[in-house]
Symmetry: C2
Subunit: 528 residues, 2 copies
């Protein structure tokens, strides 16, 4: 069961694809829902504006991806289970475990649950992808549509399998892959100075930290080999001639549009087909709504603090919210706080609670002095773009790692939720507000981030169109992915050299021994 | 003894530096002579046009680098020995050895001579660099001039030492480094698919070829550790606080402007501070001089063949030249041949011998069908830019490797000088002329090469100005260069893990042995 939706007119089970009305390309998009979609949509809007024809694959239970849109047609596939409820429970459980001090058992259980959820997501999306292959009409329709390229977010690998099945070039809009971080499967990644995501390490590690980094890498490898890998091996062996693996599909992708850059991330080896588009979603601030502008202006010389903990967190524990509200109430600044739970009892007059805020426009407002944030990639990159120092309260996923990158550059400060209380929140807030180095450092990052030969958005569009023009970018893909791992690491050659060395040494030893024995025998004979 | 030359007015031993007349940067250039200078000069012309103030360090015996120039001031240092004579002898000897079939001994001697010459060049330039440090007036003048950046070709490492000494940011305009190819000291370079320069291998290697590649890498390492490295260790230990090595200086360079790209070269790991400017010297063809245009047009439908063996080769052996001339004379095409030796006796009426030719403009002429070339980087990149297939006769250095990259893409064909005769030259020429795949393939490369978000020249200028604006690009340099090699490769951690593993295994073995022994003793006791 699927629905195909063209432009704003939508019909169940009938196929209407927009015929490109201009010289633009024909792009099939296989996105990931949630905050990942926010990014993808911005890219699609730009592609649409430049005359490309876009078709988005979505599921019936999608959170954010609308069926009808003026910028894309859609193909809707049935998916019964929704993961949103799980996320809600997971987030609450995470916060609880962190606040109450995680016992080894509860920590392990939480991570096990998370991994199960992750695995379930991959299974569900692989099933959706299989549905496409099994549905002859839809598969034929996709073939007949002669798409130029599949644009996909490889946090879920279905788009890669789809592209391989239909033999289409692939452009990735990527922050995460199903088996960790993309660079680790694409470019050599010496673990001595490249921190594994989740390890909470930087590019400067002592011996113990390097040991820890290798340990975290083993966890990722375990996940690849025993949890996520087999799900894709299964769909690959059924539908792709000669089989494939999620890693080999990633390694064959034509262009990686990486939502990062080396102002945000630590420098590391990369590959010719990786293009860094970190912060491509950022734009100069637009004017605030009149009432918000009035509130912001009323802060006078003290300025404004803004706080948000992202799209996934619906409510902070009441005690934490109360402590934060109390600290805010004592500050001379005005505060805008995106907060969804019960209204904190200690809320001050200077604090405006909102359901939603124009975050980008506020970050770009000269009155905003500090950004209290959870450290999602989008928020951190917007803070860098607009040069606003961050007081970070990381909750889960990559948030600690993201904030750590700011803290390492002296452009932000991390408060752990486990230790968070009124006193250290107040201290942290005042430090980021009054120690001018935070602002200077993030403004330096902002200058570096903006000083590029081409805007990240233009880069993204250029490389998608490049793949359309040249039907891929095979000449930018290294030969590495075709080699078995032991050849890639030259282990076979090293083994041969060691064997030759050993035989040589043994021969020399043999000759010496023979000579010595002969001498001894001679000496003995003489003595006799 | 040194001379400083400002603009076109030049005075021995007096210091005249042009004060920047615009908001441009103040750039100190430490170039390499010969064909490398041709490239550097094109970059300097562009920098000058954009308002930058340029000072070039040169030696009194320079081949190509003029003391007086409208685009730069110069600092001239004394150097007695010139290497040009050696080159002439070396080239003739090389050709002779290749033609007559190299005995192991003559091949070894030739390479030994070449390495001595190379080592001598490094010593001479290190001495020149030392002269700068020892000359208080000149050193003070350089300090007072407040250069923003040192732009250097690191085929000779003096510019790197100079930049370190004066604590200036560095931009490299690089094709080769003193110890091989730059990527090998900068980015991880798996030898399983990255051919070592000089090995004559591609990125697809079988077992034996990978063995050969490792062997060639050992030669480069030997050169680094025992021939070239010590020369720089010496100057570093004398003049740089805390010492340094040529490799560590290279690893600390702010930006690498690499005269290559991944249309020309095989894809491989790279680093964030590497910018590919391959073909930055190429421009659309300009009209030919009237007489040459007339000659070219007279070729009619058959078109023109052009041939040149570069700047270093003054004469081909007479027998080879005669055979080539004879083949040319039989072709219906017209031929333009840059040839400096005696006039071949077999020269046909269709062949025009010239001392110099407007190579770029000819390559861009639609009548030119084949480029017979030695395979220097500049020529190969110009052939790619203009989409003219190449019949290559590599002589030495990187020429075989350059041509191999074309041959692998079906855009050129290699003839070895050793086997070159009239018959196979004619066959090769006709194959490249009449098999349309050569032209199609090189024109595909040409399209790919030209399809970039920004021209290589604009990229080069952007990144030089970037380093000037931000006083370096430290945030793009990885932490790798600060680590000892065993930490970089995680050998210390692996050793610990192996030791722990061994102790664990031994303990388990001990426990089992203890238990077994106890059982045996018990059994024995029972039996007794």
């Amino acid at each position: 069961m699927y629905r195909v939706c063209g432009g704003l007119a939508c019909f169940s089970l009938c196929l209407i694809f927009l015929v490109p009305s201009c010289s633009g390309g024909n792009i099939l998009v296989y996105p990931v829902d949630g905050s990942h979609w926010i990014n993808m949509k911005i890219l699609l809007e730009e592609l649409h504006a430049r005359g490309h024809n876009i078709t988005v694959i979505r599921v019936s239970t999608s959170w954010y991806i609308k069926e009808k849109s003026p910028i894309y047609s859609s193909i809707t596939l049935e998916m019964e289970e929704a993961l949103e409820d799980f996320f809600d429970v997971f987030v609450k459980e995470q916060i609880k475990v962190q606040r109450e001090g995680a016992s080894m058992l509860s920590f392990f259980k939480l991570n096990k649950d998370f991994l199960s959820m992750l695995t379930q997501a991959h299974v569900l999306w692989c099933d959706v992808t299989k549905d496409i292959f099994e549905n002859e009409d839809l598969a034929k329709q996709i073939t007949d549509s002669k798409y130029d390229v599949v644009l996909t977010d490889p946090a879920i690998g279905g788009g890669l399998v789809l592209a391989k099945y239909f033999n289409l070039p692939v452009v990735l809009n990527v922050r995460w892959i199903p088996v960790g971080e993309g660079h680790f499967v694409l470019a050599p990644s010496p673990l001595s100075y490249i921190p594994v995501p989740g390890s909470g390490l930087t590019d400067r590690m002592d011996f113990i930290q390097r040991l820890k980094n290798i340990f975290f890498n083993c966890i990722t490898k375990f996940q690849e080999l025993f949890l996520v890998g087999p799900i894709y091996d299964d769909i690959c062996s059924k539908y792709i001639e000669g089989g494939c693996s999620i890693v080999s599909l990633l390694q064959q992708a034509d262009i990686w549009l990486f939502r990062s850059d080396f102002v945000f991330d630590f420098p590391r080896p990369t590959m010719p087909n990786v293009v860094y588009i970190g912060g491509f979603q950022c734009k100069p601030a637009e004017p605030l709504p009149a009432d918000l502008e009035k509130f912001v202006q009323s802060s006078g010389e003290h300025g404004v603090i803004i706080m948000t903990l992202g799209t996934l967190v619906n409510a902070l524990p009441q005690d934490v919210a109360n402590e934060i509200a109390e600290v805010f109430s004592k500050m001379p600044q005005k505060v805008i706080w995106k907060h969804k739970g019960d209204r904190p009892s200690t809320l001050g007059n200077n604090t405006l609670i909102v359901d939603w805020m124009p975050q980008k426009d506020l970050l770009g407002h000269p009155q905003v002095k500090v950004f209290v944030a959870h450290g999602g990639t989008n928020g951190v990159q917007e803070a860098i773009y607009h040069g606003v120092p961050v007081l970070g309260i990381p909750l889960f996923f990559d948030q600690y790692d993201n904030l750590l990158r700011l803290q390492e550059r002296g452009a932000g400060k991390i408060l752990q939720l486990a230790d968070l209380n009124g006193r250290n929140f107040e201290e942290g807030l005042k430090e980021v507000l009054h120690n001018s180095s935070y602002r200077q450092n993030i403004q330096r990052l902002s200058r570096l981030h903006k000083d590029k030969p081409m805007s990240p958005m233009d880069q993204a569009i250029f490389w998608i169109e490049y793949v359309i023009r040249h039907k891929g970018a095979r000449h930018l893909i290294s030969e590495a992915y075709k080699m078995p791992w032991y050849s890639y690491h030259s282990l076979d050659v090293v083994l041969l050299l060691l064997a030759v060395g050993a035989v040589l040494l043994y021969s020399i030893y043999g000759v010496f021994r023979f000579l010595c024995c002969r001498r001894k025998i001679k000496t003995k004979t003489k003595l006799n």
